[in-house]
Amino acid sequence: MQDLMRRIPELSLLIGLSIVAYFVMGAFNQLENASTLTADGAFLLVLMSFLLSTLIAIVAVIAGVGGGVLFTPIMLAFTAIDTLIIRSTGLVVAMFSGLVSSGPFMRKGLADVKIVFYCAIPIIAGGMLGSYAAIALAETMGEQGDAIVRLLLGLILVFIAFLFIIGGSKTEFPEVGKVSPFSAWMDLKGAYYEESLGRVVHYQSTRVGLGGLLFLLVGFTGGFFGLGGGWAVVPVLNLVMTTPLKISAAGSGVLLAMGNSAAIWPYITYGSLIAALAAPWMLGQVIGGIMGAHILARVRANFIRYILIALLFFTSIKLIARGLETMLGIDIPVL
């Protein structure tokens, strides 16, 4: 930890300022008491959100997904907060750990700028369509719309959990095979220095057209549910487009940040992204994102993966139950 602080002085500064800021906020709290939350209750909620967000960011970065995959389902399953507010805040959570990791990944040559810009357009377009669809659904279907979102998200989580279980099939250096004319024309190839092997690895991405279509879908899902799309970006890049795992994982964070930056504006300008709730989550993602990126090399990623799988299954059960309860008007005693 001390080594980390020495190597990244801006991280030390940010952590130090955050500690001072939260101390000052707690000690000199001038807020009024409100209907549900007292002034101290509001402070505690903000402080807990910040700490939880930092923890989620560390886990999410180590597991190779955006924090939105944990934040959005947990909040949708276990709180009464409006789904639109949760999804907009989920995009912030998904986005900011990706933003801060863009710099180190680009400087180390792990994120391929050509792949990023090729995949960015379908992700951005899909993400915007998804966020428009989310707001339209909330406006037109009300409670039933919320139920549909919870049910669909529960099913998607089961799918993501299975993706993580079979994640062992991912290959660090995939077989390229036949390169289509379009893929050859796009020329998405490059090289990076693989520290674990102590040598340079060359790669070429293929099935570029199919990958583009899948990224449109990934973007839509991320924008609609406020999940981000890190969980799907890595499999598409690695398994479909035969990009090495490390390049896929680094590209995922960069793409997530870029794609969500377009999707999030409608939420901001229509007042669905509320600063009082989103700010501590955003700060936690920035600090936890930097820490997670540097801790990654020292921990057993598999342990984190098991925690993530358990969390996804657990949350999906609650989400599906809540969705069915509202849609069918029944009571399902789950937790």
Binding site: L14, A21, F28, L31, A34, T36, L37, A39, L45, V46, T79, L84, I85, V92, F96, L99, V100, G103, M106, R107, K114, V116, F117, Y118, A120, I121, I124, A125, M128, A133, I135, E139, T140, F173, V176, M186, Y192, Y193, L197, R199, V200, V201, P244, V254, A257, M258, S261, A262, W265, I268, T269, Y270, G271, I274, A275, A276, A279, M282, L283, V286
Partner: protein
């Protein structure tokens, strides 16, 4: 197969367009985090707020819809504009600005990267893709793309 060609090969050159993109994003994000931190402190230790955090967090926690929250506090829900520019003297306005700076910083980063691709690296295809990505994001930022409902 993605195989190493030569064990003694030198480290590959890292494209300047990527480094510039990453650096603008990284420092822009840290700047936005500092603004958010300052806005949060101002929200809590002064009464200068557009909507008091304890009031809005209470309503959020109670499960109020977005429209009800805005109508029950300041009267009207924003209708697709950057409303926080009008309340930058308040803690929550400043906090919202900080988050927006972090989201916005992607646009200049992509444009700077595209410029380098066009001029130094002579990769017009990817420069064009980057420009298109920046323009879509910019259109979303300035609200050129109308909402289907709201």
């Amino acid at each position: 197969m993605s195989e190493p060609h030569h064990n003694q090969e030198k480290h590959p050159e890292i494209p300047l367009s990527g480094v510039v993109y990453g650096d603008i994003i990284y420092w822009g994000t840290l700047l936005s985090a500092l603004i958010v931190l300052a806005g949060q402190v101002m929200s809590f230790i002064t009464r200068a707020n557009h909507i008091s955090p304890s009031v809005i967090l209470s309503r959020i926690w109670e499960g109020d819809k977005v429209g009800a929250i805005w109508e029950g506090t300041v009267g009207t829900q924003p209708a697709g504009e950057h409303w926080y520019f009008d309340v930058l003297h308040t803690g929550d306005g400043l906090t919202q600005l900080g988050i927006s700076v972090g989201v916005f910083v992607v646009i200049p980063a992509i444009l700077a990267s595209a410029w380098i691709m066009f001029t130094r690296e002579k990769r017009p295809l990817f420069g064009t893709l980057a420009t298109v990505a920046a323009l879509i994001t910019l259109a979303s930022f300035i609200g050129m793309l109308e909402m289907p409902a709201g």
